[in-house]
């Protein structure tokens, strides 16, 4: 009984979170490559090559992006103001790098919250099935 109440409370909570998230961000859920790109940029600004390598490292070699896929995603994220482009001052070559905008950071946090609640809900369901 307690478990059922808890389950319902979590379900309602997930519904509220989902509503709030969707009310200001229509692009969720993110695809795995886009999520990994954003996670790579939350740590520090990076240029294209560095993003590719970091995504590969984060996913243990499971997600290996091509340059076409990477720059397609970068283009969409730039268009939606999730990331911004700037010229790296430190390097002699003056390479272009990318960093998260405040909006991008907010949206990434919203996606992380969404995933957390989903995982929690999934765990409850699995636990209910097993018990």
């Amino acid at each position: 009984m307690i478990f059922l109440l808890d389950f319902r409370r979590n379900l309602a909570h997930y519904g509220v979170v989902r509503h709030v998230v969707h009310s200001y961000m229509e692009h969720l859920p993110l695809t795995e490559p886009v999520l990994l790109i954003l996670l790579s940029l939350i740590e520090q600004p990076r240029h294209g090559y560095s993003i590719l390598k970091d995504v590969e490292r984060m996913s243990d070699g499971r997600v290996v992006l091509s340059t076409g896929t990477l720059y397609g995603a970068i283009r969409r994220l730039l268009d939606d103001d999730w990331i911004e482009r700037f010229e790296e001052k430190e390097t002699s070559r003056g390479r272009r790098a990318y960093r998260l905008t405040p909006q991008g950071r907010r949206n990434l946090q919203a996606e992380i919250n969404r995933m957390k609640h989903l995982t929690r809900l999934a765990s409850l369901r699995v636990a209910a099935k097993e018990s």
Binding site: E26, H27, H47, G48, Y49, L52, V64, L65, S66, T67, G68, T69, L70, Y71, G72, I74, R75, R76, D80, D81, R95, R96, Q103
Partner: protein
């Protein structure tokens, strides 16, 4: 090898190439240098991944352009300033209408080819023009009215497209 990559880059829209072309080629150059040390199979996988990535990326870049010749809604349908109704939707609507008209005509042909020898039940197929001029406008009027009521509700709740655009403009 780099020339091959640069040739494939020509498949992208000119605007995309102007912004990212040089950078993409530079990143590709770095990846290729990394890949030279790897085994033949890994090198082949790298080339396959890059070629398919570029081809699909170029196609997606063309399809995503709202003013492009192949404007086609992919991914999520996002309304923004300067948004135009996609031509593909008009094309599909025309195709569906054409399909309906062909189906009606076929139905009429089948009905007229069946010999009228004591038919079990009278088969009545309305002519296409009577459907288009009779029930169809009423049918569409009903849905337009429903859509209008829905929009009024959204407007009252300040969730309509106009408010969204204002919100986006305000954020910028």
């Amino acid at each position: 090898m780099l020339n091959f990559y640069e040739t494939l880059l020509l498949l992208y829209p000119a605007e995309h190439r102007a912004i990212f072309g040089e950078e993409m080629a530079a990143v590709f150059g770095e990846l290729r240098a990394d890949n030279l040390k790897k085994k033949r199979l890994s090198r082949a996988a790298f080339w396959l991944r890059e070629t398919t990535g570029l081809l699909s990326g170029a196609l997606a870049a063309h399809l995503r352009r709202p003013d492009g010749p192949f404007a086609f809604p992919i991914g999520r349908f996002t309304m923004r300033n300067g948004f135009r109704f996609p031509k593909s939707t008009i094309l599909f609507m025309a195709l569906i209408l054409g399909g309906v008209l062909v189906a009606i005509k076929k139905g009429q042909d089948i009905a007229s080819s069946v010999p009228d020898v004591n038919p079990p039940l009278p088969v009545h197929i309305q002519p296409a023009h009577s459907i288009l001029l009779g029930g169809m406008p009423l049918f569409f009027a009903f849905f337009y009215a429903a859509g209008l009521i829905g929009w009024v509700i959204l407007f009252a709740l300040r969730r309509s497209g106009v408010h969204r655009l204002d919100q986006i403009a305000g954020e910028k």
